[in-house]
Symmetry: C2
Subunit: 267 residues, 2 copies
């Protein structure tokens, strides 16, 4: 069955978009069929895969707002086994506009139900907030992956993030679980990074005995190292596999894809 994964973290600039694109591309390289969904009004994922947000006939905004529009008609192919449903700036208004909709946190779930089955993975890139768009991702998904950087403030936000996942699991989506954390732009040799990773590992280990949605969560190994190529390829509208397939960034995202695939037998 399709694995629908929300890449979420309300902290800004931690690597959600970079991970959604390059993990998605790596899974496609490994033979999986992948759909990427851009849920951020800033449309960075859309730009990153070479799609002009303003040139799309329909975007994820139209999908959410237009009851008659079906997902299968608005998918764009961006690579072998790699499709995208892009965002655009109007999405910024969606949180207000959807406010009075019936079941407003489940709109995305309803809309992608049918098209999702054509893929092995659906990866949803979230904006840096815990608002209605991220909630729609959490209700539509069956897994959460949390990109983060090994900095102090990243740990601060984690409890709020996990509390939100917990709430969604209790009230709206009982199958939701946190598969794990991806350490992004990692500079592993610093004392700060070492301490943050240790704190994180202790936190997950301590949760193992309790039925929290993150009790089985892991810190994916190896971390994704800081690599300038990963910051360059968005400007060419390319994934790292199109831009520089032999660099450390590509190696790390391929390793992450293998680790994620290996998680497909969770208990």
């Amino acid at each position: 069955t399709v694995r629908i994964i929300a890449l979420m973290n309300q902290k800004g600039g931690v690597g959600k978009t970079t991970t959604t694109v390059n993990l998605g591309a790596a899974l496609a390289e490994a033979g999986r069929r992948v759909l990427l969904i851009d849920l951020d009004p800033q449309a960075h994922l859309t730009l990153h895969v070479g799609v002009d947000p303003t040139a799309q006939r329909h975007s994820v905004y139209d999908l959410l707002m237009d009851a008659d529009l079906a997902a299968d008609g608005i998918v764009t192919r961006v690579g072998e086994r790699l499709d995208v449903i892009g965002a655009e700036v109007d999405l910024a208004g969606a949180e207000q506009e959807l406010h009075d909709a019936a079941d407003r946190q489940a709109v995305l779930k309803r809309k992608i139900g049918s098209v999702a089955e054509r893929y092995d993975f659906v990866l949803i890139d979230c904006p840096p907030s815990l608002g209605l768009l991220t909630m729609n991702a959490l209700v539509a998904a069956n897994e959460v992956i949390v990109p983060m950087q090994a900095h102090f403030l990243a740990l601060q936000g984690l409890s709020k993030l996990l509390e939100t996942v917990q709430l969604v699991r209790q009230h709206m989506n009982t199958s939701l679980k946190v598969t794990g954390v991806v350490l992004c732009a990692h500079e592993g040799f610093t004392k700060l990074a070492g301490e943050v990773v240790a704190d994180l590992q202790n936190f997950f280990d301590a949760a193992r005995k309790f039925a929290m949605p993150w009790s089985g969560a892991k810190i994916f190994q190896p971390p994704v190292r800081k690599n300038i190529k990963l910051a360059e390829c968005p400007s060419f509208g390319q994934t790292i596999f199109q831009y520089e397939p032999n660099c450390a960034g590509a190696v790390d995202y391929q390793a992450l894809a293998q680790a994620v695939i290996g998680e497909s037998m969770p208990n």
Copy 2:
């Protein structure tokens, strides 16, 4: 007259909070009286200066929502000449709760008017969005400083950011101007950084002949270099001047403070 500066950028994780705290602390070190206002529900500035968001009697949320609460009573001293009005998690609801308020974008401006005059600088840390909280900062401020990182996606967001500043200037705050851009966590030796900085400089130069709100904007020199100490000190609730006053991060923020002070005679 007091300079009220919004530190804004809808892109996440670019250095808004790090800059608000350490520029503010550097200005205080240089003898200026500084008030920091945390407008982000994630309360990272509040944590960064050693205040427990949950332990505050009143936060900026109460200031915005409670018509009778005055700003002067809720300021907390965090250093010599350095005060803060902190945020807390309830602020996440403010954008919805203020939606129907009269003049909802000018609430902060009304509330800080009297207390602002006791300072030389009021620095407002914005969340990573262009929503109602950031709008309140833009209406209350007379200047905008844009922290950013020399990455491709940073340039993408800039036009939307400046368009928003433009709109506010036209309709709600005719004195608003963009004083400049701070390059944060800068690794100046990469080709990518060089290209981004050149594009940015061209963009500002090209605007000089037109009366845009960013026509006089500059890229503050020198950039703030990437320095692990700046990422460590939040975990101790300290500014860089309390934590490691002789490191490169402290030197760079002191230089930024001098550059910002030097801008006080804009034409």
